[in-house]
Symmetry: C2
């Protein structure tokens, strides 16, 4: 039986610099919010993770390539250069928009390179090098400090084809199964559910976004009441290129 | 300030036939779950809505066209015929998969035509003719019976390019603004947020799915604590074709 789900925003977490102990701040904040329970899932915004991992680039240090200058048009070619360095493929371009496949395999705008909420107008924040490893480190630190084994999702806001606006998705996970496979299961009426896999980790990330509020400095949310314990990888959510009708 | 969000599943709602009073059943169920509060959003699965609206087709009544037979391959050409009738454009095909643009403008597998959880092995369920109108009727009926003005989202599970698995999205809405426009707003650090629109109604639908549990007969969820009151349409979430890089 599925029961009530709670989305609990974690407040009072300041902006961190490289090397900051994000896990400790999360545990402190969650203590003020009533503590963690086994089975909780902690959703942490990618940007907070990237900053403590030092995934910040000062554009003053970037020399744009000829290709970056060509793609940039009226935009800052140094930012385009950073996007190209984060990409293993450019999927679509329409200046100033670049849809890229990142080195991890995520297909998203600007290869996840983001200027907003950065540490200054001339810096950009990159995606974590290995979002699963980021999630695992936070999970380990939380278990060490709070004595509770939680699932962790590192989330980011992605646009998508055909629909306006961003929804949050899971880049990396630890301690949970990101896809729920219902193939072969029967529904309440006894009929087989066809071809149904639910991207539950993406739904968890989107749910958490509702409690984050982009402009209010809430980089993490506890999701309580969703049974997804297990092991998996954010890469489980990536459509293999040969199965993708839109590549 | 964003606060806690609760996702409350509504139980004990039986399968309904055409003309059934889904609004009354929702109000009864929500009464058992503690009642409604102003500002609540009720997310209702498309399939429950379609059934009371009579959007069910018996395949025995369908004569497939030549094109349906051609696209069907080993599949049931009558089902393909229904998909073609629901479509205004075929976006991609790879048998047995058809990605179509529905008459409403949704881009999804099988034009939203779904065999699972139907009223028999040889029936299919179609999307509502006008999902905003469906949401509005439910909202009006709930206000009439419960005296509370809620937002209503009619949701469905859609696949998407680049990522595996489905996430729930909003087909139709009433009493809420489906896109949150942050363009021009400044984030916690004082920097401008660029080009950010959040598809909050889709995130609400995805969040609700977490509390629905596909196989357990929970066709509706109360989402409490998300401030999105306003007016809008599910069509606000559709990317205009001329802006879509993937069409």
């Amino acid at each position: 039986m599925s029961g009530e789900v709670r989305l609990i925003p974690l407040r009072g977490i300041p902006e961190l610099d490289e090397g900051g102990d994000l896990g400790a701040l999360l545990v402190e904040s969650v203590g003020r919010a009533g503590g963690l329970e086994a089975g909780d899932i902690l959703v942490v915004a990618q940007k907070a993770v990237s900053k403590v991992e030092g995934r910040v680039v000062r554009l003053a240090d970037v020399e744009p390539s000829a290709r970056a200058r060509e793609l940039a048009g009226d935009e800052d070619a140094r930012r385009i250069e950073v996007i190209l360095r984060e990409s293993r493929d450019i999927v679509r371009t329409r200046p100033p928009l670049i849809i890229a496949e990142t080195s991890h395999g995520f297909v998203c705008a600007s290869a996840g390179v983001d200027a907003s909420n950065a540490k200054g107008p001339d810096t950009v924040v990159l995606l974590p090098l290995d979002p699963d490893a980021s999630a695992r480190r936070l999970r380990d630190r939380i278990r060490e400090l709070a004595g509770v084994d939680v699932g962790v999702v590192v989330s980011d806001s992605f646009g998508r084809p055909f629909r306006r606006g961003t929804t949050d998705v899971a880049l990396g996970v630890s301690g949970l199964t990101p896809l729920r496979d219902l193939r072969g299961q029967r529904d309440a009426a006894g009929y087989e559910l066809h071809a149904t896999e639910i991207a539950v980790a993406d739904e968890i990330a989107s749910a958490a976004e509702l409690a984050m509020g982009k402009t209010e400095g809430v980089p993490a949310v506890v999701v309580r009441g969703v049974a997804v314990a297990g092991e998996g990888s954010g890469a489980d959510l990536l459509m293999p290129r040969e199965r993708d009708l839109f590549r």
